[in-house]
Symmetry: C2
Subunit: 294 residues, 2 copies
């Protein structure tokens, strides 16, 4: 990662963190609910989605301040999905980013409600943003509910659970990743561009770009699970090995997975060019997604 990209990411991460904490902080709600929502929202890592949204907005000359509330809303939706995915009935995870998961720190009922609260609050935030027109708000809400809802992320989670202990082929693997993680990444790119004032044709190319960005993200995740540094990725390497989940290296071999990532990378760059923003920070972020070490 270049020094300028690192500085850019750090600055935007700080903006997102402040917006998130201020949005939750101002709620007059039962204290246990607030603590639980805050606990998971502040446990965030790289803030990839909201930073991507802001970068996309800025690439089209939009104002950062106009994108901030939507980026916080998006991070809340991502956070809700992690809280619910970690529940005992789902992935039954006890630790996330070195801290107890929400239901371990509080209890299951509180975790379910904190997730419900974050999801619902995200629509409150977008519909209340004064720097957006009503038309923009409606489009941003429609796209977010599609990306996160039964046609998007929720479908991906069901398919992911059904795919456990079963061999999936490359097409099935792509479908699950596209729904489960790709939809919110696509939303980040498209929503930012919408706020920034991109034209309709540019949005179509951006959707294609975001599709490949999501896949690059996932291949790299699978690769890091094999040859990553455990101290950097925060979990033991080889944790995908034990279960029967399909991964890119399992399907294509490590070399094949790296080649596949390069194919996706080429397509992502081409789509960015078609979207008229090839020299933007988005290109740097794409390369970073592809070569990140954690």
């Amino acid at each position: 990662m270049t020094g300028s990209l690192a500085a850019y990411l750090k600055e935007k991460q700080q903006l997102v963190n402040d917006e998130l904490m201020s949005r939750i902080g101002r709620l007059s709600i039962p204290s246990r609910l607030k603590e639980s929502m805050k606990y998971s929202a502040e446990a965030g890592g790289k803030r990839l989605r909201p930073v991507l949204l802001i970068a996309s907005c800025e690439s089209y000359g939009g104002k950062t301040s106009a994108a901030l509330s939507t980026s916080a809303a998006l991070e809340m939706v991502h956070t809700y999905s992690l809280i619910h995915d970690d529940l005992p009935a789902m992935d039954d995870d006890h630790v996330r980013r070195g801290k107890p998961t929400n239901h371990k720190q509080f209890d299951e009922a509180t975790a379910i409600l904190a997730g419900d609260g974050l999801l619902t609050y995200s629509f409150d935030i977008i519909s209340g943003e004064e720097q957006l027109t009503d038309g923009q708000k409606v489009t941003l809400i429609k796209l977010l509910s599609e990306a996160a809802g039964p046609k998007g992320m929720v479908a991906g989670q069901i398919l992911d659970m059904q795919a456990e202990n079963k061999e999936s082929n490359l097409q099935e693997l792509e479908q699950i990743h596209t729904l489960k993680t790709g939809q919110l990444l696509k939303y980040a790119v498209v929503a930012g561009a919408l706020i920034g004032g991109a034209a309709k044709e540019q949005l179509l190319s951006l959707e294609e770009y975001a599709y490949y960005l999501g896949l690059i993200f996932q291949v790299q995740d699978d690769i890091l699970d094999i040859n990553g540094d455990p101290a950097l990725i925060g979990k033991p390497v080889g944790s995908d090995e034990g279960n029967f989940k399909s991964t890119y290296p399992k399907l294509l071999g490590l070399e094949g997975a790296i080649r596949q990532k390069d194919v996706y990378l080429d397509k992502a760059r081409q789509a960015l060019k078609a979207a008229g923003v090839e020299s933007s920070i988005l290109l740097e972020i794409t390369d970073y997604f592809s070569s990140r070490d954690h």
Copy 2:
């Protein structure tokens, strides 16, 4: 209930049922997710909230068709809240309206995701309704996310759980009911009036009306638990007795609860008059809420 009210409710219930099933039916999503969402959505009872929304819209001369999608969205939010409330970590209920609860019929993970899916889809539906202006959609979405989210229903559920096995006073009891069930009832009335074209001052009076309507609904619920006909209410009478939950009859005695309901009823009627719709179907529905036997 008058014959004309019964016919009115039946007609609108049918419209709501059709809209709900068509909205879920058209989703191209994993079959298990769709079945689970459909299962709980079609297990609905009287469809009070969506019918109230339609009645409120019609009271101001609005078109029924313009209110239909928002009324289905509201019923989806209500259904999601029942699915999550029934979960083992929450109320741990096994039967609802004579059928196994969602997590008993499917499994916990599916139930959590079906709830998440219904909640998120509701915002998709409102933002996609062509008979509403962008301004109306934004207001309808803002109000729904406030009513259902951490400031509304989700807060009510947390407080309700915290109030179990603890004596609450009348004020605390009203707060819980206002958040947990009152917010969505208020939404029904206000959203319908907004779609119907009510003026701003009328909306304020309607909010007050809806507040008392919610309390009437709850007092009558508590009264039916003592002197209702088990065959009609679908559960044994006295089921509130065993736990330590506060109810109106426990706090005020049965006679006192009936008097309290009359106080609320008077206030509701006055507010309806101030809202300029005193002769409407809303008045009939109010009386029905107050005297219903199930």
